[in-house]
Amino acid sequence: MKRILEFLSPLLHADAGADRVVPPSGFTVRLTVFTSAAMAFLTVFALALSLASGRLGQSWGDELARSSTIRISAPAGQMAAQTEAALKVLTQTPGVASARALSDEEQQALLEPWFGPGLPIDQLPVPQLIDISETAEGYDSDGLRLRLQAEAPGAVLDEHARWRKPLVAAAGRLKLLGWVSILLITATTGAMVTLAANASLAANAQVIEVLRLVGATDGYIASAFVRRYTLRVLVGAAVGTVAGFVAILLMPGGSDAGGFLTGLRFQGWHWLWPAVVPPLAAMVAFAATQAAARRVLGELA
């Protein structure tokens, strides 16, 4: 705890004097603020992208796990036997969690939207449907097709949701890329602050010399720089975050038709995520300036 307090002391000491000993430098101030604002804006977008991809992948994945179907079209006499055979094949297929033949009532309910109520299903050559749930690993669909052909020639495997599998993988990758981008943006912010602080320390070599002459410790000198950069980055990142937040807020949301694009808005408590960005940026700036100051002061000794 003591060490943490010591580490944070440049921020806690509300000593305005320490800030004044470093001459103001208008241009680099504005550049630092602008860059941190831009970085925060990008972070909010990367965050939205990552969270949206995550949600999409999740919901697509759920659908995938639920559904493929086998449709059996056979002469009325063979229907029961082939259904039996297909179910037997399915129980023996690795990767199939469960399989269930739909009852007549269920099939009727499915057809109702097209043919209206009261359809005499037992008098029509309606195919029998079998609902399959996969395990996480999934089954080998080519192998299953071959076995069905042999055991139940009237069975057709319909993997209507399977085409989404690569999309789910892509969504996962996109989510990962979002997080990688955030990491890169964080590192870039750190690098930017390090460069700016280094330049500032080098430009103020005489200030440092004078401060040392009158008995300033490294901690005092470092704090003057650290506080300045931490505050600049905090202000810049706050502005950028608000801008990014508003931009995301203005995205049209909700409708299913838009799919991914309209899903970019945050949802629920995820709206709180951007609030993390300015403190994170300030922490990065703090650490980067602290490290730069310690290094330069060590070299100037």
Binding site: D15, G17, V21, P23, V207, R212, G215, A216, T217, L297
Partner: protein, 225 residues
């Protein structure tokens, strides 16, 4: 207070200073003379820990300079008032704040000390110049400001490198009297100077010892000048 024990120093080539043993006794008053380039400034820098000896040992307030971390040196500096030969300031801050800088840096800026500051400003003849920026000052004013800055912490030891180099005879007498006054209050004083007239004037006021750097080493110049 400050002791040098068989100290040698070189900036890389031949030794500039050699075999120097010296002890700065509390309450003493020293002058340090020697030709230009003989190493007076270097000697003072060794005394306040800005340089480490290449041989031998410097002890500052009973701590070996070699073992002192940068923070320890910083704390020692608060007890040693140094007037640099090339008086450097923070050019963006007004003179008041520059002179009070040792106080801010050590977290001792209080209203009491501010009264001190006004008194000090009048001692060194800088009343009314407090709001001026250092680059607007004359060479003599800078020197006086540097002296004021060195004294603001009421240090135990005062090391002054040519503190009267740029001021007229009358002002140099005044600054000398200030330093003598401080010495009578118990401060230890060492002044590096070429100015023999100043040394002679001082002898009338205080029992000062005169040291001389020649042939790369420290010699006592004795009483006769």
């Amino acid at each position: 207070m400050i002791e040098l024990d068989n100290v040698a120093y070189s900036y890389g080539g031949d030794a500039l200073l050699n075999d120097i043993s010296f002890s700065l006794a509390p309450g003493s008053f020293h002058f340090l003379t020697g030709p230009s380039g003989s190493g007076k400034t270097t000697f003072l820098k060794l005394c306040y820990g800005a340089l480490l000896p290449t041989e031998g040992d410097v002890r500052i307030f009973d701590h070996s300079a070699k073992d002192m971390g940068r923070d320890a040196v910083a704390y020692a500096r608060r007890r040693i008032g140094v007037v640099h030969q090339d008086c450097k300031f923070l050019d963006h801050l007004p003179l008041n704040e520059n002179i009070a800088l040792p106080l801010s840096v050590s977290g001792q800026a209080t209203p009491d000390q501010f009264a001190n500051l006004q008194e000090l400003m009048s001692w060194v003849g800088l009343v009314g110049r407090g709001e001026a920026l250092p680059p607007e000052l004359s060479g003599g004013e800078r020197q006086r400001a540097a002296l004021a800055r060195a004294l603001i912490m009421s240090p135990d030891v005062i090391l002054a490198d040519e503190p009267t180099g740029n001021v007229d005879w009358e002002m140099s007498q005044r600054l000398l009297r200030l330093l003598v006054e401080l010495n009578k209050m118990g401060k230890t004083v060492m002044i590096a100077t070429h100015d023999m007239a100043l040394i002679r004037a001082a002898k009338a006021l205080v029992s000062a010892r005169v040291l001389r750097i020649s042939n790369n080493t420290l010699q006592s110049a004795g009483v006769d000048l």
